[in-house]
Amino acid sequence: MENKHQVPVTVLTGFLGAGKTTLLNRILTEQHGQKYAVIVNEFGEQGIDNDLVVDADEEVFEMNNGCICCTVRGDLIRILSGLMKRADKLDAIIVETTGLADPAPVAQTFFVDQDVANKTKLDAIVTVADAVHLSSQIEDHHEAEEQIAFGDVILLNKIDLVKDEVIDVVTKRIRKINPFAKIIKTTKCGAPLKEILNLDAFSLKRILEVEPDFLDSDHDHEHDDDITSLSFVSNTPLNMEKFQDWFGKLLQTKGQDILRTKGILDFKDQNDRYVFQGVHMLMDASPMGKWPEGKERSSRLVFIGRNLESMNLKEGFENCKSA
């Protein structure tokens, strides 16, 4: 087998005016000693140093694979395949999406195309959010909400322009939509690049380390957000067959409304822990070695999506417990 070196790809998303261009300029101009390619839409500037700017049109198409919500970005497949032919290897690739874009097709591209999946890997979705305007943007534009829901890292930017109380409110709002993103508070997107790039957030191994940060008791019903998250924990081992049956059907029928899922599962009579993560209907799952000794085995499951209340998730999950 050839040595599988995969170039990490960071997806940079965020609503109009949040500060994506500021961050891109930083990535392109800072002395970081790394070689990056930046795939942009109509970006006026040229790369400085050794960096590479590639112009793309954000073009999505629907796969004819019977999966109703499986849209992917063909232009990204073309450009990533091209970049892999370079003589000098890239340290990372950054894909900028436009302010009104849904991040799902970019993520799905990495599940769908074999060449892209062999040679590159989705590293993380980084969402730049405007601390001043995020609350109103979430209310008015479903795209802004989706970008928060998909983020592995959320740069809460422009915090110098708002009071601390506002930052708290916005942070809580983000947490309610997305309990497992890492939130970094910044002015002028001034976070160290190592907290943004090369995070390996989509690797199944990393899921073992992430503890969702739920605001348990703090249910404020001030805002009725469209996208929410739900999580479930069970100390009773699950029946594998029942779980696969329930979860498979769930993604098949509700995959459009379920944006992201992550989980660690404890199946009855299995020594390994099972880890999975998914984007809409597409899922990546694998056994990840034995349970650590002395630690209690348990299953944890997180959903981010729309209309989660209508899916009887709790009941469905309960039914998967082994008798």
Partner: protein, 349 residues
């Protein structure tokens, strides 16, 4: 599929390798095109080299990053790169810039009756011999591939959801019609008789249109995306990559003679090993194909007598990325992703 697998004893070097000349350049080969008895090779550092009689020219500095595509124009070559430039290069290394699109890549280049043609983004640009400014052909999504029919009268442009077919009407104005099939279409080609148009799709399938009545159908059942296909021989087969099974890679060849491929079975030429066919290249004037595999090996097979298969190049460990045969069919050049190049004569002396 397993009944007629071609098996070979483990060889150190084939006779073709023994009598050929090998280059270890360490730069990925991206494309190769024959021009007379020379072969031009494009690389992943933006350079081009011309190989003649087993000798390499110095590297011609063509593009900044990657030579993405290459085509022949008389005794010159055309190249497109990731620096957004469309170039015309002579065999002695004189580079002329035809177009420059900045940060937008040039993904396809070709020549047609003296015109120079390329695609960048959603637009195909055509420079006629007497016009300084190119004619623009615009499309709704990024161009996957471009192809002229053998007479050079029709231009096919693949894109999302099908193909745009351009031709000149009686007033010599270019007009377009659409061939529609949902999804992303990559490479496109006319059959040599001009009766069919085929595209390779993102979904592990070839889409084919019969142009007289625009009936379309799929050639499917592939395990992988079809990276390479080519029309081969006088009876005309469409040879394709993209098929593999348990321990077997295959080139699938569809018959395009008579009533065409509809409802007919393809010929399957198989090769052992856990590999994939990455490049198919016709052997000019023969009903035979060269198949390059993901492990670096290259085979020559007759389509109608597939047991007549010989190994040209053995395992190198690096994916074959380009194969070209000189115009007089005397020599072959093979390049891979690690920059190994083999030049060898095809016929025994």
């Amino acid at each position: 599929m397993t009944a007629d697998v071609n098996q070979f004893p483990a060889l150190d070097k084939t006779k073709f390798e023994q009598r050929g000349i090998e280059f270890k350049l360490g730069i990925p080969v991206t494309t190769a095109v024959s021009v007379g008895n020379s072969i031009a090779v494009g690389f992943g550092d933006g350079s081009v080299r011309i190989f003649t009689s087993g000798q390499s020219s110095d590297a011609i500095k063509a593009h900044k990053g990657i030579v993405l595509c290459m085509s022949k124009d008389g005794n010159h070559i055309l190249t497109g790169g990731d620096d957004g430039r469309f170039l015309k290069i002579s065999l002695d290394g004189v580079v002329k810039e035809i177009g420059n699109f900045g940060t937008r890549w040039v993904d396809n280049v070709t020549a047609n009756n003296g015109s120079l043609v390329c695609s960048s983004g959603k637009i195909v640009y055509l420079w006629s011999p007497n016009n300084k400014e190119p004619k623009l052909f615009e499309h709704n999504s990024t161009v996957g591939g471009i192809a002229f029919d053998t007479k050079g009268k029709r231009l096919a442009v693949s894109r999302y959801d099908g193909v745009t077919l351009w031709k000149k009407d009686y007033t010599k104005k270019w007009v377009s019609s659409n061939l529609i099939w949902k999804g992303s279409h990559n490479k496109v080609s006319f059959s040599p008789d001009g009766k069919y148009l085929v595209t390779s799709m993102q979904e592990n399938a070839i889409r084919c249109w019969r142009l007289k009545d625009k009936i379309d159908f799929a050639m499917s059942g592939y395990d992988r995306k079809i990276k390479s296909f080519a029309f081969v021989g006088e009876t005309s087969y469409l040879a394709t990559s993209g098929a593999l099974g348990m321990g077997v890679a295959a080139a699938i060849c569809w018959p395009f003679d008579g009533e065409g491929p509809m409802g007919r079975q393809p010929t399957c030429i198989s090769y052992t090993g856990n590999n994939e066919v990455t490049v198919v290249e016709p052997f000019p004037s023969e009903n035979a194909i060269f198949a390059g595999l993901s492990d670096g090996s290259v085979f020559l097979s007759e389509i109608e007598n597939k047991n007549n298969t010989i190994i040209i190049r053995s395992f190198t460990g690096s994916e074959v990325s380009a194969i070209a045969v000189t115009d007089d069919s005397s020599s072959i050049l093979i390049g891979d992703m690690n920059g190994n190049i083999l030049w060898t004569s095809i016929w025994d002396k």
